[in-house]
Amino acid sequence: MGLDDILVSLFPFGHDVVVADDGLILGSGFFAAERLAEVVGLAKRTALGVEGALALAGRLLEILGRSPEGPILVLLDSDSQRMSKRDELLGLNEFLAHLAKALILADLNGIPTIGVLYGHTAAGAFIATALATRILVALPDAEPEVMDLPSMARITKLPLAVLQDKARDTPVFAPGLANLAQTGAVHKTWNPSESLSAQLQELLMQLDPGGDRRDILGRERNGRPKAAEIASRVEALARSYA
């Protein structure tokens, strides 16, 4: 499902979302009458570098200044972080963290943040954007990829076939939407043949005000057997000293 189709389905009441030359998605749209969503994101498999991260964060801060009611959608079809000497020289980690912080702050301010993964994403770009939202949904042809198998084969010195074989037994390392969903990263996969607007509204109705539940989701889906339990045990031990 292409971005244009997604925007049409998400915003039946109109939108002004555009994709700039640098691959940034910016704009807003009405997913219901009188209900406006702000939109940021990355399109066309763009790598996220210092300029992109700063621009997206700048837009988010500007939105926060207006204290909007509606959700902020993060539409994503990106590469990983931009891998270059210049980006690292300038402190890419701070730019990416800054963007993630802006998204988390929006959510803490009561503005729902919803990631919509419709294409590819990887590594630092994924963490700084979609994984910093309250809820991450995906379209079926999304291709999240923390680490690609050929690179992994090179580093672990295991044959690709062996890795593919191992990947069948566990969702914990191999790329792909199903694996990410099973570990709890992706809450829901939307049905592209139904109205995305309706699915968004349904999602907003079900929003749980509680904290980060991705580890619990990962346990329920048998994707991450230990994370939730370890976190809660450490949390309890640390609290007992307070």
Partner: protein, 312 residues
């Protein structure tokens, strides 16, 4: 500016144990008031990674992450330390969840400080999805805690540096202390070289790596707030100072960070090497910076780049 004013290191003296060389446990023992450290889910609990056996890789009883509480200069702190030599200090499911749990507790303990001793290559690739998600959960928990008033101090100077998602977590801390050895970066040297070619970045050129990603550069551009020498003593002193510097997290803080990073891009965006950045900062002999000893460098850094209070 000379490269030769520091008195020789008095080796063997416990006060000068190298941070870079120490294990995570040795760092904690030397950083905190003795014998105040109490570990949560210690090695005797054997909470190891459930995923390493798939790859026939050895486990470590603490999965490379040590969490607990202790006293720093008499003040209660929660601490987390990564062991950079085990799996490169990389984030896996258990490793990450320990820090997530610690930060979630910190959110609800008024006035508490969290110290994070980073030493990581990023995501552990044998459990990449779990590691990536752990990093996202840690960032979320950290910002929630900071917003509730928790101070989070990051200490960076270990063997593995602070790479990948570790760099993003570091970017969410209230205050960062870094030593010369502490490299902070998202993409590692080998990753850049593999993806963009040796002309873009020669990963074997150690001087290039250290001046592009190392602690001195990070301190000079404001990516870290305090510079420490490579000793547990120096890190302890810097951590005590850092706690005073920590500011709560707010929308104003983010706005200040936006302005800070925007200024950085406009000042240094055209530079192609760290020495050009340092020259643009007004450092007269930037080529001498890498060889400068700690005290001289701190004086220089303080004169060229004030720590940005409340802008991270």
């Amino acid at each position: 500016m000379t490269e030769a004013t520091l008195s020789p290191p008095l080796a063997g003296a416990p006060s000068l144990i190298s941070w870079y060389e120490a294990t995570a446990r040795q760092r904690l023992a030397a950083l905190l008031d003795p014998p105040s450290f109490d570990e949560f889910l210690g090695p005797d609990q054997r909470e190891v990674s459930p995923h390493l056996p798939i790859f026939d890789l050895p486990e470590q009883f603490d999965d490379g992450m040590i969490v607990g509480r202790g006293l720093l200069d008499g003040c209660p702190v929660l601490v987390a330390a990564q062991e950079g030599r085990f799996m490169g200090g990389a984030f896996g499911e258990v490793h990450g969840a320990k820090l997530t749990g610690l930060l979630r507790a910190a959110r609800d303990i008024p006035g508490v400080t969290v110290l994070i001793l980073f030493d990581t290559g990023g995501v552990r690739l044998q459990e990449a999805n779990a590691g990536e998600l752990a990093i996202a959960e840690i960032m979320r928990a950290m910002i929630e805690a900071r917003r509730a008033g928790t101070r989070v101090v990051g200490l960076i100077g270990g063997r593995a540096g602070c790479y990948g998602g570790g760099g993003l977590i570091a970017g969410c801390c209230s205050v960062l202390v870094v030593s010369e050895q502490g490299r902070i970066s998202v993409s590692g040297p080998e990753v850049i070289e593999t993806n963009r070619g040796v002309e873009e970045f020669d990963a074997r050129d150690r001087a290039l790596v250290w001046r592009t990603m190392g602690g001195k550069h990070r301190r000079l551009i404001g990516g870290a707030d305090l510079f420490a020498g490579d000793s547990v003593d120096s890190f302890r002193a810097a951590a005590i100072t850092a706690i005073q510097r920590a500011e709560p997290f707010s929308q104003d803080v983010l706005a200040a960070e936006q302005a800070r990073l925007k200024e950085r891009l406009s000042r240094f965006g055209a530079c192609t090497d760290a020495t050009e950045v340092w020259a643009a900062l007004g450092i007269e002999r930037p080529e001498l910076v890498p060889a400068m000893v700690t005290d001289d460098f701190i004086t220089l850094a303080n004169s060229k780049q004030e720590a940005h209070r409340g802008a991270r």
